[in-house]
Symmetry: C2
Subunit: 137 residues, 2 copies
């Protein structure tokens, strides 16, 4: 049997990430973001600038915060988190999982070399690794 | 070396769950729930009834939904999700991870035989299993 560490290295982000990713533009209204989030398909909206580059992330957390506060915030760029923790298609799942655990976040946008958001990895996707017959760490 | 399946069975929910769990009562105001959630410590508030039993769960998603809608919702019980997916201290991590993946949720309240919420397991806690030197599947 191979040592476990070597076995686990074989699993890359691309094997369990979701290629269908709902995104939003930074100059869209918060209400647009709320609508997308409340459709329930995702809790993490990667935010793109005019060139399609990833510049932030918005979750229901940010929406709830925005509505709970008195000051008027209208655009996605007013409430998004700018310091986005991301992953890469060929990053080992170990590293991506540790990032989520360390930062206590439940999803990582998957970016390419041009910082385009090409997929998303949810913490719940890690469950696929524990499936009988599925990819395993 | 042991077969992987057997090795993985050794890891139980209690090894990576969080024993500190912030909860809320079902007759509290939504604003109380919002305050707890927006402190940012958690995105999942287990909801307890008068006897301290788990009856629901509230996330920022439910808060965002409540404020986005015209009808006035005031109590936690008006917006909480009642059909709660839970786990047990001695459930194998495989099963808990698959529940989160299957239902696309990012946390499971950990209940005892009396349906009291004694801890919480976040999907991001699965990252602990991938830590060098940490518990491993
Ligand atoms: C502290 S977390 C707690 C809630 C939940 N666990 C989550 O992942 O959204 C909420 C904050 O994390 C931010 N966030 C979520 N994913 C992120 C990521 N990949 N990088 C940076 N910030 C992120 C959100 O914008 C939000 O402000």
């Amino acid at each position: 049997a191979k040592p476990m560490r070597e076995t686990r290295k074989m699993v890359l982000v691309q094997e369990i990430m979701q290629r269908r990713v709902v995104t939003i533009k930074e100059d869209q209204d918060i209400t647009d973001a709320a609508k997308k989030l409340l459709k329930g398909e995702t809790n993490h909206l990667p935010v793109l600038n005019e060139e399609g580059r990833l510049t932030g992330v918005v979750t229901t957390f940010d929406i709830a915060k925005a509505v709970a506060r008195p000051e008027r915030k209208v655009k996605v760029q007013d409430v998004m988190t700018r310091n986005v923790i991301t992953t890469l298609v060929d990053e080992p799942i170990d590293i991506a999982a540790q990032k989520m655990e360390h930062h206590r976040i439940s999803a990582l946008p998957v970016v390419d070399a041009q910082n385009q958001c090409i997929a998303i990895l949810h913490a719940s996707d890690l469950g696929k690794l524990f499936k009988p017959g599925g990819s395993r760490p």
